[in-house]
Subunit: 250 residues, 2 copies
Amino acid sequence: MPTRYEVIGVEGLPEIAAGHDLGLLIAEAAARQGTPLQAADLLVVSQKIVSKAEGRLVRLSGVTPSPRALAMARELERDPRLVEVILGESRRVVRHDKGVLIVETHHGWVCANAGVDQSNVDADTACLLPKDADASARGLRERLGALTGHALAIVVADTFGRPWREGLTNVAVGVAGFDPLKSYLGERDPAGHVLQATVLALADELAGAAEPVMGKLARIPVAIVRGLAWEPAAASSRALLRDPDRDLFR
Amino acid sequence: MPTRYEVIGVEGLPEIAAGHDLGLLIAEAAARQGTPLQAADLLVVSQKIVSKAEGRLVRLSGVTPSPRALAMARELERDPRLVEVILGESRRVVRHDKGVLIVETHHGWVCANAGVDQSNVDADTACLLPKDADASARGLRERLGALTGHALAIVVADTFGRPWREGLTNVAVGVAGFDPLKSYLGERDPAGHVLQATVLALADELAGAAEPVMGKLARIPVAIVRGLAWEPAAASSRALLRDPDRDLFR
């Protein structure tokens, strides 16, 4: 039997709004399309619907930009209220240039616009990343456990750019129920000594695996990863943040 | 019918050596395990077996390190012959520190050790990246087309580190038969104007999707991605190299 797994898009979710029971809506939609949730499923869920369910939306008409946001917005040729919202989500501006604002979020993610975006929301609204996407993932996991009786794994995913390589990829910004890193046995050096272990970012790879079925515009905001053996663990997406001291690419 | 696809590891390939007919060995192994190659399959193939089949191996005992390699190896506490090999594969050293050498390869990839490694080869041997992994992918695609009658897509993959995020991910270093980037319709700004299109690095996401079934140590060096609609195209992995002028993360 070859090692294999499947990635299944979950369609037919309604437009999500604050207070919606995301776990129930996902379980219902999966069942409705003939792929009910099963034991050991891992769900990749778009950050956007998690944020919407948690009411992480800001009305731009109610935002007063600071002098810093006004100055930066002029440079970037962006809406100063949106820049104000982005700065509020950021602990550090990494770079601003050519209309793009790269920041480090309060969570520690380095990404464009602090993950704040205006797709799939009305023109006066900006959608923020979940305040604590690990807590969001844990909550969803508990709700789905109660509804289905299965211990699932959850990835909350967003699409980020990266240095050196063209194109965005889907990555994990929140996890629950499994270890987002996977270690392989170390390689051996020429004298036969085991060198360092190789650590793979499994949660990011699975977030990326889900993207081709999820599409943009949140039409398919959830994917089921089925058949893969993941390591149950109480884990956090903070494991995916590289310690700056160890970051030789920086 | 939900959108879905499958990732299937291909086991049972022999130890690959220079001159082996990789296409034939992959087609045979896939058939032997009951998952023969089908129309529209996309194959993710480990760089390591491609390099071995192409004889991209260097005997360290035959390498004379340059003064530059000797100095750098002393700092890094690495084998100077290995450092010499890595420098020979590099157009630029991005950083060297704490035993790790980050370079830009002649292809343009920024990665540790120019992708040169010593896993799954004997102690006196270093394995290099394919000279032109797009050509490798095209050659494999043509051979598999002749053997199976199917037009497949190919990704040659390696595991690279990245800035800011912990853990390696599998990424594409060579492609054939499909567009490694996928564009979505642009978002609309508050006035209803379409902003820039969102471009996803599909080839990298699928390389990553394959990794969990491939494992390390080259025991499963090939995965079939089956059921996904990819865009047939004459394409190159160079599309995944970000223009430094556009790289705001740099």
